[in-house]
Amino acid sequence: MSRALIAILAAIVVLPLVVRPAIASEIWIFAIFGLGLNLLLGYTGLLSFGQSTFFGSAAYVAGWLLKHYAINVFLALGIGVAVGAASAALVGYLCVQRSGLYFIMLTFALNQLFYFIAYQWTGVTGGEDGMPGIPRPDFLGIDFGEPLPYYAFVSALFLLSLWIMKRIVESPLGKILQAIRENEVRAEALGYDTARFKLAAFVIGGAFSGLAGVLYAMLFGIVPLEAIGFVTSGNVVFATLIGGSGSLYGPVIGSFVFIWLSESVSTLWARWPLLLGVAFVIVVLFFRGGVVEAWARFSAWRERKWRSSRQTG
């Protein structure tokens, strides 16, 4: 068992003792969301600024079915994954041929398309008021309505997601996506249909976002309009980047830092997005590379110090 995994398991156990279970759950949900984005951003080099499209669509569809048809929890999750993947296939199809700025703007604009559909389609989504009253149905006699069982459920799904993502990035697909990030022209010249691989990354990332979206809807019992808004897309990019997009665990750390900070600050001041914006600017100007890299730099520094002290001593 790797050290990272031990740390995560320890965090899963300790977290609900330190913060409210709802926040603890939100951390792992956001981490699943971040894992999905990082396959695109970190591994394939595609900066998608529209991940909330998949997150929100899945939350709305599964939430609607949970609310009106009282479907089973696992069916709801399955539907969320499917909706996330399908919406990502749609968006991905339009975006994968583009690159650079064009790609970013397109993912954002399509995000806005879905946002405005949700905003105007008040009969279903509740528009600005959100879609409230989403239940957390029992399963096999376990009452997910209670915070702690639901937390355990979310944690288990997070570990499952992490394991699946680890398999994916260590598979040939993971290597090929990284090859596309490194040098798309050469990857194509080697015989890979890069557009199809990028689309695959979108669909997988969308499936993870969808799972996160449904878990989020069940956690708070509501799908707020912001769930499909661009700020959510920006937050997950930020969380992934502060964690470090270069590694599998980066988005997990990022989600931890991001949710914990934003939850503690948001209770203090209603205008906390201002501080969030300031945090974005500071990180970008001074701490590029994220927590993982900052830690690596710190360890290298400690190592050097340790060595030099041994030489002199």
Binding site: I168, P172, L173, K175, R186, E188, G191, D193, T194
Partner: protein, 249 residues
Amino acid sequence: MAILETDRLTKSFGALAAVSGVSLAIEAGTLHSIIGPNGAGKTTFFNLLTGALAPTSGTIALDGRDITGTPAHRVPHLGLARSFQRTNVFPAFSLFDNVWVAAFARAPSRKGIAWRSADRYPEARERALAALADVGLAGKADRPVREISHGEQRQLELAIALAASPRVLLLDEPAAGLAPEETKKLVALMRGLKGRYTIVLIEHKMDIIMSVSDRVSVMHFGSLIAEGTPAEIQKNAEVRRAYLGGVAA
């Protein structure tokens, strides 16, 4: 019989014909060089062969089968692999991963592509290691690209092409930017590859061409102006004019 054949292949950019009516037949198992001054259209010709560019007119045939218009990502699966004039590798990868990605592209089966560990494709792994061994980089398989010299990067460039187990190897100035010592090594390497693959070589350095080629074609302003054995080309008056006219005058 010709394994690779073009018929009046032409590529125009606006009014400029970068490649103009090139009809060329490459015999199986030979090393066929294409020479010509800078801007003669040699690299554009390669880009047409590999599908990176679509020809304006003319056809390309492999084993007598028309492959014109095949998309770039399909061409390697037909057995055509290329190296690039400017080193064009995956910078963050180890040497092994660089050639592995090339080898896996031609794996007989991509079963389990998103799920099975990348280590568990023994066939791709062996081909990748063999390609590194062929260019003499087997000992550095786990080193990252940024730690090796320019000369070794040129060898890696070649290994990536070899790992795709091609039948026809298109090499675009493999000796570009090499020191004399490294060039010698590369020539020896090419001698070793000769016969195992059909090789089409673009090269500037006359001494390399004369010592390894079976046949030489000369391109000038997008057209073929001569073809023959190295000895014939050396004597050809028109070639001398093209070269001397391009360089000295």
